[in-house]
Amino acid sequence: MSTAATPPTTEHGHADAHAGNGHGHGHNPHLAHHFDTPEQQFASGKLGIWLFLATEILMFGGLFCAYSVYRHNHPDVFSFAHHALNKWLGGINTVVLIASSLTMAWGVRAAQLGKTKQLVWCLAATILGGYIFMGIKAVEYRDKWAHNLGAGRGNEFNLSVAGGALGKAETKAEGEKGGMMPAGPATTDAKKSDHEAPATSSVPGHSAKVEHAGHTAKPAAATSQPIAAVADPNAGTPDASLIRPPGYVPGGMSAAVAARHAAAHAADAHHEIHVDREADMYLKMGHLDQQRVYTFFQTYFVMTGLHGIHVLVGMALIFWILLRAVGKPNRGWVLPLGFVSVSAFLFYLVLILKNEHTAEAMKTLSLIGWISLAVFGLWFVVAYMRAKAARMAPQPEFGPEYFTPVDLVGLYWHIVDLIWIFLFPLLYLIH
């Protein structure tokens, strides 16, 4: 800023004047020609990343807005559905992200002080934190699917498919996706009865019966037969076929909850209490709220999913910084080492996601894992030997004179942490 009056021709003049100043600094190789000073360049970079982070905040702000409106309108849905999330896993992930933020901030400090070794270890620890976070996230997502609480068709609260004609036909074709629910026979029975419903729903007598069940017999049914069918609000009206999503089944959702309930009964008495309380909450919800439970899961998957993508992007950026931090001869073997870590993560995914329903997909995934492990492992060995044979002094890129990329990537990583700080209490810790 104070140098704005410098004549434009001094860009190379700088270099010459500077080289001869006896301080041991040549022309700063990191100073781009359109900046006057490293300070100006650094400040511009910071300004740029902060503007970018502002757009990130606004993007997540849209999701938080959707969340607020939905929670404001349907508080019961949130207090019911959030029980599906494991607050301990979410809490551990919070700690993991905070710890990785610490290692990142420490890495920036190390870069500023020119402590390359410390910087490299901090960056590696931060990437490890990202892996742990994504690993725990994978366990959480797997559990959602295992309990039929996943996204899209994998969610029993999804009205357009749950037990419906559409969903059922495709479920069968895909090899009993519905069988992932804990209740084996109970589930299929419940789903079968749902399945038969739409065939007869055009008969006026049937819709009247359903309406009756939902209208008067509900409290009684709740005790005798765990959960009563929920009336279709459009049953018996001319709108019924128009308003209903394809495959909608009256009582489809509640039957799914009943199936879970039965499964818990069969499984163990300890779990029963928990599920009873949930089923009770579900019954006490308003009727329209019952139909909107799925939107909680949509919100959850979109918000945590977008956040997860940010974690992956952050990990990739930190790895790029790591490559530059180790410098020229070492970069050659650190790069394949990063790919080896990706292969290791693939194996971890295979380990946790494997069950009888995913066997085929996991076979493919582990094949990819083995191939990439072999290719990148070999690449690593060769590159490592070549780097050692070169007998070249490491040329780390970052030091007190230039650490801007470390700082900026660090800021990105911190904003990812910052968003999780809000996601965690809002999704997992609803009271």
């Binding site: 000073t37 606004l58 702000g61 929920v230 965690f424």
Partner: protein, 142 residues
């Protein structure tokens, strides 16, 4: 803005750099102006510890029934945690104030977006507020 000789800006750079190196050896010197600010480990670990404590608090609060206050406690704790991250991990405390202004204005616009949307939602709420427990919708059909 006075006209400068070509040498002056470079002298400025050298000051900045030698200053930074001086700071590296003298952590007490952290508040002075310069190219950038090196955060002392004590502050880094202090922030980390505070974030951990606040995380424990926010989990513990869910075990206590505060009624409608629960969400506000959770949000206040989250805001304090976010402020700690922004001020210390993200260097905003020592950064150019304009960067903090960008962050605050982004939050400001998010607040406007959420606030006005909620206000609008309130207006429409009676139209589709679901009936409470046990009732069916058949009564409200056309």
């Amino acid at each position: 803005m006075t006209l400068q000789t070509p040498d002056e800006p470079m002298a400025h750079v050298d000051q900045g750099q030698s200053f930074l190196q001086a700071k590296a050896h003298n952590p007490a010197n952290v508040h002075a102006q310069g190219h950038t600010h090196v955060v002392p480990p004590k502050i880094l670990f202090g922030t980390f510890a505070a974030l951990l404590v606040l995380t424990v608090i926010t989990v513990a609060v869910t075990l206590v029934d505060l009624g409608p206050l629960n969400i506000w406690v959770a949000l206040i704790v989250a805001v304090v945690k976010a402020a700690l991250v922004a001020l210390y991990f993200m260097h905003l405390r020592w950064d150019a104030p304009f960067n903090a202004l960008i962050l605050v204005s982004a939050l400001f616009f998010v607040a406007i977006m959420i606030g006005t949307t909620i206000l609008d939602t309130k207006e429409y709420r009676p139209n589709y507020d679901p009936p409470r427990s046990g009732q069916s919708m058949s009564g409200s059909q056309p």
